[in-house]
């Protein structure tokens, strides 16, 4: 099954772009493993966004391949080993540039909706 949003765009295409920003942001504070990342996204979006295994991990691997994040197996006493991802220096740069772009976009959307809003009413 492919999930669709209202505009008919496959969900995976939509998430691919914005999801990069989400993941990079979450890894900014400290390294996290995949399950944690998925939980945080669901939690912080109050359930509006949820990543499945089939979309989350490919994204992590892609970001890792680009050198934006780096994965490392970590073993902790009494637990199975887990793979933690941390933001690299390049990743940090990408994150800040994406954040700027996002802000501009949101501002632009806000401006448009403020201007055109009353006309439609």
């Amino acid at each position: 099954m492919q999930h669709k949003n209202a505009g008919g765009i496959p969900e995976r295409e939509l998430k691919k772009g914005s999801a990069e920003l989400l993941i990079l942001s979450l890894l900014e504070a400290r390294p996290r493993h995949g399950y944690e990342v998925s939980q945080l996204i669901e939690l912080r979006s109050k359930g509006a966004l949820r990543f499945r295994v089939s979309s989350l991990y490919p994204l992590l691997y892609r970001l890792e391949k680009r050198g934006w994040i780096q994965g490392r197996w970590v073993e902790k006493a009494g637990q199975r080993r887990r793979r933690y991802y941390r933001l690299t220096a390049t990743g940090a740069e990408v994150l800040s540039s994406q954040r700027r772009g996002w802000k501009t976009f949101v501002r632009a959307i806000n401006q448009i909706t403020r201007v055109t809003g009353p006309e439609n009413a």
């Binding site: 295409e13 493993h33 499945r52 979309s55 991990y57 490919p58 892609r62 199975r80």
Partner: protein, 911 residues
Amino acid sequence: MPDWTAEIGKRIASLNLEKAREVNIVEELAQHLEDRYQELLAGGATAEDASRETIDELNDSGLLEHEIFQIERPSPPEPAGRNKRRLGGFVRDFWSDVRYGLRMLYKAPAFTMTAVLTLALGIGANTAIFSVVDSLIFRPLPIKDPDRLTVLAFRQGDGPLLTPFSIADFRDIRNGTTQVFSGMLGYQMGIDGLSVDSKAERLVTNYVTGNYFSELGIKPRLGRLILPSEGETLGANPVIVLSYLYWQKRFGGDPRIVGREVLVNGHPVTVIGVAPQGFYGLYRFVNAQAFLPLGMVTVESVPDDYMVNRIQQNLAVLGHLKPGVDLGTAGSALNVVARRLAEDHPETNKNMSLSVYWEKYSRPDPRFGGILVKASALFVVLVALVLLLACTNVANILIVRATSREREMAIRMALGAARTRLIRQLLTESMVLAFLGGVAGLLLGLWASSASGSINLHTDLPLRLEFGFNWHVFLYAFAAVLITGISVGLWPALRASAGRISIALRESGRSVMAGKHRLRTAFVVLELAGALMLLVMAGLFIRGLNRVQQTDLGFDPENVVNMSMDPAKIGYNGAQGLAYYNDLLRRAQVLPGVDSAALISSVPMAYYNNNDYLKVSGYQNPPGQGPPLVSYSVASPGYFATMRIPLVRGRAFTDRDLNGSPYVAIVNEAFAQRFWPGQDPIGKRFAKVSGITNPTYEIVGVTRNSRFQLLTGPIDPYFYLPLAQNYSLSSEETLQIRSSLGADATVRAVEAIVHDLHPAMPVYGIATMTDSLNNLQGFLAFRFGAAAAAILGGLGLILAVVGVYGVISYSVSQRTQEIGVRVALGAQRGDILRMILRQGARIVALGTLLGLAAAFSVARLAAGLFAGVSSADPLTYSCVTVLLTVVALSACYIPARRAMSVDPMVALHQE
């Protein structure tokens, strides 16, 4: 608890990842699933629910595998497995595109139906026409080296091109050209009676040279075939080879047929074998049902010097060129022989020149000047045009769709989808469309070609017109689908994915459309031009048919029934045959309802008739030409009255024109005009050059010209001989009865008489005269051409109208706001109507002009196919132009009406 490792491993196993990498991925993902599972359990889910929901994380129609493959595939190009893996990814992408495309089409059923139906019509028409063309021209004969087989023809001086050679000439030509031909063979067609157990049946025979089968590489199905040593001596080898179909039909495939004795025209011959299935002789349209050695033409009563007399010209000659020899070289070698023949035999071969043609491009024979190739080429062009129109229409719809999907594409590109990926997806969608259209089209084409193959040819001759599907046709259809898919999809795909993200996201899209609308308009102009061209061709064909149908035949075919028979086929001699015919006529003439009845050796437009070279008293052959070849019929008294052919001079045949009384003949006006222009032909004489006995005929009457052989062109000289004096020339006669009783009743009544006279007498060729005019020789070819052209023209018209409607309609919907403003500013409804119609008229005018020019140039190339109607026939051009203009403007009128009813308030609120 499910085995997560196995679940994941199963999914990514096919990716052939590096082992260590695969293990890592499996472990990491399994860990995630395990965490999720435990969380669900902790949340109160049952083990079963938790397990199902967890597994669901992986189920995303192959997304996981696909994405991991995209990321993990090695970037350097060298590893050996790469192409395979890349191919795997491509195939996966392809399937996902196909599925996506199918879903998109399913979601827009109206669009899908329209597009598939349009393409089906285009592809269907193409496969139907192509399967006919393929069977006429491209399908090789089932013989050895069909591609090197050629047909020979000759000419004397400026005379007509002739294909029948004398046996003596054939031998000289064969012996003189061994340096260019690897083998040369000949055959002569006959229609004979074959009797088994005193039951006679008419069949088409081929009298073949001894090397016929060996040269063609034909192996027997049963027994043996005719040997190279057979057939050189007149009457020496009384053997016969049956065709497979005839063996099946007449003898039920009985293998004991070999060695059995049968009668051909009353002469005993032995069946020595059966030809293989699929081989029915070399004449493309008539199946040979049996083969006899050339020397056995004696069963058809030929003169003793038949094998050596150069005036006895009946042999079709074909030859295999040696590998590497072209037609030009062969032609030169042939003409060396022709010059020698002309020197050695000036009385028969003066000024002879030989020519050679590829067999497959000169069907049915070279005299027709490749008319089949010409007609085929024209129809292939016309039908390709129909497909082009269909493609244009679908491309037009796709462009509109592409516009509505522009935002989708822009957003997907913004999110990182590669442009090539989007183009590929859109192309896959159009290929899916083309494929669906192709399947529907193939079915349509299959139906159409089988329908055309089952047309009633109004003859009981074994004509061969099978237009079956074979791999040629499938290949052609496949190519049509491929080209269609790419051509309808590529442009919209390029446009849609052109990456004008900012425009698409920012604007309402109308500015993007402006350029596209111009493109669509151009498309429609071309469509109209194409449709006009198709309609002009249809018009010319229909005018040709019309002219042919209005031709003054010179006889009255209404209320006449034909029934053929041949007393020789049941072994009657001349006296018995004549007596039989006299009895038959006497009894038929007094049947109730019968106006008159007569016998004739060949009816008008028959597939075969008699002809002979003549020596005409007082007529000098033009320099460099041999004696004139003239066709004739052998008729009973009462023939001209029955067919209502008026006599213009002299008398008709009477019962006193018997054997022993002076030999007489009646000629048509063309005969008199050609040989004795300006003189009274009554009392003039002529003789046939060949023949067993060559009496001198005195002309006792002149009839009006009537059409016996061709419906078009000038009427050739023709003459009639009385049956009682010339039974030996044609024992086969057709009884023609003019009756007010109706065909069925007449046939039943005559059949009763025939069987009363002799129970075994076969009666064939039973048809009304009107029906038998509707054969390939008569109206059928014209009707067939006109019908096919009319169907293509109609398709073109429909497609063009849909195109015009679509473009104007879309333009109106785009201009709704503008129209609203105009109305608000005081424009009258009439002004709006005129404005929209003006826009339509410009398109129509441009298309029509372009179409007229194109039609004119194509029609000129096809001149000669329209039964004498000029390729620049002004009536056709003007009618078609008016028709197309009216229909196309009506198509504009519907959206124009919609534009008129635009409410300015609504229109202005739309944005």
